[in-house]
Amino acid sequence: MPEVAATPESLIHARGLTKCFGAFTAVNGVDFDVAPGEAFGFLGPNGAGKTSTMRMIGTVSPVTAGTLTVFGLNPKRDGARIRARLGVVPQADTLDPELSVLENLLVYGRYFDLSWGEARRRALELLDFVQLAERSKDKVEPLSGGMKRRLVIARALINEPSLLLLDEPTTGLDPQARHLLWDRLYRLKQRGVTLCLTTHYMDEAEQLCDRLVVMDQARIVAEGSPRQLIEQYVSREVLELRFRRDGDEADDEAHIAGRLDGLAERVEQLPDRVLVYTADGEAVAATAYERGMRPTSVLVRRSTLEDVFLRLTGRSLVE
């Protein structure tokens, strides 16, 4: 009998989930649950442990420590049964360059034990869905990056999965290709497919995810809906002020940060501008003028996940 997860309502259930490669800890004791029908995101800089987490969920990478169940099953014992119900869009396209677009889907369908007829029926339907029907006889190599990505998504859907794992689905695509992809993913979500994705694009997370966790250095540092995270970690608005940089000016930036103190929830000094986190950007801008500051440019914008992300994971470059 398959082992039933502690919380049967969750499709993915992780407690203290850990992955080590030798002495290196890629994922360090993370807890999360993904509910059916949800779009769940892992957000984080490169090397945060997102892909390692996804590979453990996909049962292609053994769990080092902690608990993980997928569909209530144990990846170690029931890997093949879990994978039979999963759709996976890996970071690299991993398409077969020796086969045509259609054949790539047929072979994949056969891996899931579909009959040739059924594999063909689904493949043609999916090629329509990802707008690649006219390219079905072409080889894979001449396809554009966006087309390849769409083909990989079609491939991941050939077994009609109830859970789709997407590892950085739109990295490297142009805006048109990204929007087309988002549209398809949104439709899948409408049909009740659970989405679990990693990304380092904030707009992608805001577009697609009902709920997300922010990962940094192998740990989960925050969890919530995009809106909740913004409310919790940053203010409603951000006021961006730029100043002329000449030595004589009293408008020296370090000085300015001090002069804005008390007006805002938080003031952040960047090399080229000052960010003022506040509920009312206009009001703070007006006060700044009253106090004699003369910025060369003033911009008031709504806070985004990017602000949350940078707040939580820092501004230093991760490589």
């Binding site: 490669f21 996909g58 292609v60 990478s61 053994p62 890997g79 093949a80 049964r81 994978r83 039979a84 999963l86 996976v88 890996p90 690299a92 991993t94 398409l95 077969d96 360059p97 020796e98 086969l99 054949e103 047929l106 072979v107 994949y108 056969r110 891996y111 899931f112 034990d113 491939r155 991941a156 077994n159």
Partner: protein, 270 residues
């Protein structure tokens, strides 16, 4: 009752319906270029047998020839049948497998389906066996065409060639899964496969090798494959020797599959 240990280790584990799916994939690729496989599968034996067997054979036969008066063509034909299948299998288990692991990463895509690392190993090994069978059958056709066999038993050289091919392919696939680039393959072929091709009794009896090197030949699976195929083709069969040779080949194949099960897992399930 205690079963023999090899039985318990189940060398055929993984040879399931799932590994047949991997073979299907390879056959689909084959279907796209089957004619080139057939063409080169016929051209190679023809060139070798005409140049070496008939051309060089003219001088060998004229200068006293081989013991028992065996024509040189008949001497090398079954040996070349085996070596050609072996060479193709060796190459097929190196670069293309590396491509599936590292370059195109199609193995990684397959591992996201119910297939596992062992299905990939066994499935691709079946494809290599299929290809070796095809090459051996084509080679056999050329042998028959040129009248280069002395006994109808030559047809059994085909399964011997396939077994020899697997005896090489399995350990090489295991080796491939440990490599981070294709640099190791150059060494493998330059210092392993090519010398074997030349010194495993293919072109001359190993008794003509320096005394020190002769025992080495015993440890190369190719020598055993060549010896069996030749004895079948010449109709000179010694049952005990035949069993020893086939046993040596089977041992190599089984050892290779075991090694592959370890290295494929270690490489692909991380």
């Amino acid at each position: 009752m205690a079963l023999p240990s090899v039985w318990q280790l189940r060398p055929w584990a993984g040879a399931s319906r799932r590994s047949v799916r991997v073979l299907e994939h390879d056959l689909l690729v084959f279907r796209r270029g089957w004619y080139s496989y057939i063409l080169s599968g016929l051209a190679q034996p023809f060139l070798y047998l005409v140049a070496m067997g008939i051309g060089l054979g003219l001088y060998v036969n004229r200068n006293g020839g081989l013991p028992g008066g065996v024509p040189y063509l008949n001497y090398i034909a079954p040996a070349l049948l085996v070596t050609q299948a072996m060479m193709a299998a060796a190459a097929e288990s190196a670069w293309p497998i590396m491509g599936k692991i590292m370059w195109d990463k199609t193995y990684l895509a397959a591992l996201n389906t119910p297939l596992g690392a062992l299905d990939l190993l066994v499935g691709d090994l079946m494809w290599i066996a299929f290809r070796a069978t095809l090459l051996a059958v084509l080679f056999l056709a050329v042998i028959v065409l040129l009248g280069a066999a002395s006994s109808p038993m030559v047809v059994l050289a085909v399964p011997v060639a396939v077994l020899t091919a697997i005896a090489f392919a399995a350990p090489i696939m295991a080796f491939t899964a440990t490599q981070q680039s294709d640099g190791g393959f150059n060494a493998l072929f330059r210092f392993g496969i090519t010398p074997l091709f030349l010194f495993s009794g293919t072109f001359f009896p190993i008794e003509k090798l320096p005394l020190l090197l002769q025992p080495l030949a015993w440890f190369t699976p190719l020598y055993h494959g060549v010896a069996v195929a030749r004895s079948l083709s010449l109709g000179q069969i010694e049952p005990v020797a035949l069993l020893v040779h086939v046993g040596a080949l089977a041992a190599c194949a089984v050892a290779g599959v075991f090694a592959g099960r370890i290295t494929f897992r270690r490489r692909l399930e991380v």
